[in-house]
Symmetry: C2
């Protein structure tokens, strides 16, 4: 078969470009750095949204919608925040044919405008915790862009919460990190993630602590897949979010913010894709089973339609392709590219035998199955391949993560994967040195892999790597 994609080991960035184009996932928009997410790519994001939204609501948060445009003066209210975001802003200066009195920026993130609402909504300890989330678009100016990974506009969810105490804020933020993000990434997207604390250098602008989920891509680089920030009282003080406590006194609230974006689609592509295309984990897949006619006639279309209906009735997300006006080989290559977990190919001989060919994208097998038992065979394959894809990604990560004792060794190991180095052997100075080789501390963990409360804990381990 002619090669469809540049092989990963020949040129990984080129492979990525190829797959995004050929699987019809996304393309560039007319304005620099903006992207068009095509239906095949958007369906992946829609499934991610559904899975994350369920988990976010399970924690008690409610969705809302805040404005796209933010007065420039809002950003300036928190000193580190404006320093971090002002250079990245897209600015609206005119509307309705007239110049605006004050320029406004397209939200790069919404801590400020939501902080302003919170200051009006929070009066008493009874109003806390206030748990909000929104699904929206944000914009940040980027010089070099790559579809899904770094774009001027992206889609995301941003959660914003206010709490009565530091402890309550910290505990809720950890719940988001583990019960929402890590659970979603590992159990739905089938990508193992390292969770940990960002160093001061990598912290969100305005946060006191940033926690992260770091996934390994198939070129050994890290992708920051989600972050959850403890904002302390920084935004509560800047926006005057105060509550009357049960002690009869006014207190500033403690806030958090946390987000996962369409970068996650990039993580899915680079975390699981191979030289034939995407591999989508069954639990996430918008199309779990793809029922294809090999050619027309002899009851093939009828058998395919019946199989498709049976799968749907059994709760499988099935899609039917009986377009015999397009060559079978071309449709099969397209199915491989789009990474549908299982394919059922039905031709005249299959129908005669009461069978179908079950092609598993992840296991890489082709076996004949009886049309009578097809829904069970598909369900078994989907369950097994979800686990297999996770196990494969976990093994890849383990094979590409080294324990080292010096910074030089860490930088060397980062050429092909992650390095675990005692934080004492790195430190802020080591971070600066590593940066010269495009290596960064992805996060800090305790020796047992758990997430520390602060950088000051003794015996921390730094996870280093190159990153997207």
């Amino acid at each position: 078969m002619a090669r469809v994609l540049t092989p990963q080991n020949e040129d990984f960035p080129r492979w990525y470009q190829d797959i995004v184009a050929k699987a019809e996932l996304a393309e560039n928009g007319p304005v620099k750095g903006q992207q068009v997410i095509r239906p095949t790519g958007f369906a992946l994001w829609e499934r991610m949204v559904a899975e994350m939204d369920d988990r976010i609501k399970e924690t008690g948060a409610e969705n809302a919608s805040f404005p796209l445009l933010i007065p420039q003066s809002y950003l300036s209210k928190e000193a580190q925040h404006v320093e971090g975001f002002a250079p990245e802003c897209w600015t609206v200066t005119h509307a309705g044919g007239k110049e605006l009195e004050e320029p406004v920026v397209v939200r790069p993130t919404s801590e400020t405008v939501i902080g302003e609402s919170m200051s009006r909504w929070v009066k008493s300890y009874r109003d806390l915790p206030l748990l909000l989330n929104q699904w929206c678009n944000v914009m940040r100016y980027e010089m070099r862009t790559r579809l899904f990974l770094r774009s001027s506009e992206f889609l995301w969810q941003e959660g914003h919460t206010a709490h009565a105490t530091f402890e309550d804020a910290a505990a809720y933020n950890r719940r988001i990190l583990h019960e929402v993000y890590q659970d979603f990434m590992e159990n739905v997207v089938a990508l193992p993630v390292f969770t940990g604390l960002k160093t001061a250098a990598e912290r969100f602008a305005g946060a006191i602590n940033t926690f992260t989920c770091e996934a390994m891509m198939r070129d050994g680089k890290a992708l920051q897949a989600g972050t959850a920030h403890e904002l302390g009282q920084n935004f509560a003080k800047a926006f005057d979010i105060q509550y009357l406590g049960s002690d009869g006194k006014q207190h500033h609230a403690w806030t958090t913010s946390w987000g996962v974006s369409t970068r996650m689609v990039g993580a899915l592509i680079m975390g699981h894709g191979d030289d034939s295309g995407l591999r989508v984990p069954p639990r996430l897949a918008p199309v779990q089973a793809y029922v294809m006619t090999v050619k027309d006639g002899e009851g093939v279309s009828e058998a395919a339609a019946k199989t498709h209906a049976a799968l749907r009735a059994a709760g499988v997300r099935s899609k039917l392709n009986d377009r015999s006006d397009v060559a079978f080989g071309r449709r099969a290559v397209d199915a491989e590219l789009k990474g549908y977990p299982v394919r059922l190919e039905i031709g005249p001989r299959d129908v005669a035998e009461g069978k179908a060919m079950l092609v598993r994208r992840i296991a890489g097998t082709k076996t004949q199955v009886s049309l009578d038992g097809v829904t069970e065979a598909v369900a078994d394959a989907l369950a097994a391949d979800q686990d297999a894809l996770y196990a494969e990604a976990l093994k890849f990560r383990e094979d590409h993560t080294s324990d080292v004792t010096t910074l030089d060794e860490a930088i060397e190991a980062s050429a092909t994967g992650f390095a675990r180095l005692p934080w004492d052997a790195c430190g802020t100075e080591g971070e600066t040195r590593a940066a010269a080789s495009a290596v960064t501390v992805r996060c800090l963990q305790r020796a047992d892999g758990s997430v520390p409360d602060s950088e000051d804990e003794a015996g921390l381990v730094a996870l280093l790597g190159r990153s997207y």
Copy 2:
């Protein structure tokens, strides 16, 4: 009981302002005309999105995401389109601290940028129809704004499709009008709508025909709840959307676009709300049953929790309120304001008797029901009250719609509702005259109420009214 809202018949606009604030639906954002949609309001929109999205996908359309920013030059490619939208645009002139080479506008609607994509995606008749939809935010500059009804930024879905023939485009567009919009509005939101054709004066900028769903609010005014446009070949020619036909020749495609926005929340409020607050139709309601403890102790919380769990297990969207730190009366008023279809109030005496008080927001009744049979009683109430709310809205509309024969009568009847006037007795000249009294032709229908193909059909009836 102290009055919570300004009564509708005293001052309808004030009633609207009151309910939007007191039911915690939305408020103004910091930039002129922008809105914050609060969790209670957003949950209504989320349910609308879910119901419409199902119906849109049922027609074969797929979701995608197109850029927020559009080059100014794109708008100019279709002459009527730029004339209609350019004065309403919000313009971005700077990014990353530098002036842009070409100013870009925040999308007021996406025909142009999607047309540009379509021109690359459509090659052959095999690629048609191309059926796309996106859920997103858009911005239009507005001098006078009102929450949900007219805001500078709003949320909506915009569908964009390309077809091989005029007939296919027209048939699909009618399917959207009736099977998606009308079905959703009448069977979910419980608001009867008149469907018809817009006159040339009211047509979408760039369309050859605009079809509309017009709902009556409780002050007798019309609200345009959704529109579906036949764009002819205007955008296909402007953006060069061509396909190779089965005849071996190149043809321009025929396109459509169609949208429903967060205005629909305004329609819900003004179409069903009363002097106590919102009334949300059960099929739409994010909270269908609200289980409240009257006060603490004597097994009340346990009985409430058990009832809530039983309702959820039965598929009812139930919410539990056992906050005995807030006075019962205040919580009951809040439940009325938010329009939860049924309330189950449980106090110590109820528990002793194995009963609960079932309060129906739409029927206006309070009856004791046995806790054993509570899920059935709730299911029955929800089904009956969905129908009752629709019947009430339909009767209101019938009582406020008059058949008239002269324009003067039509203008007079429009003071309290709609007027049906032979289009021959109105015409473009009549439209201009009516406009002086703030009365417009909402749509044209055939004498039997069905939707005409064009303004040129004989015997059409014009529906006139004041509008939002």
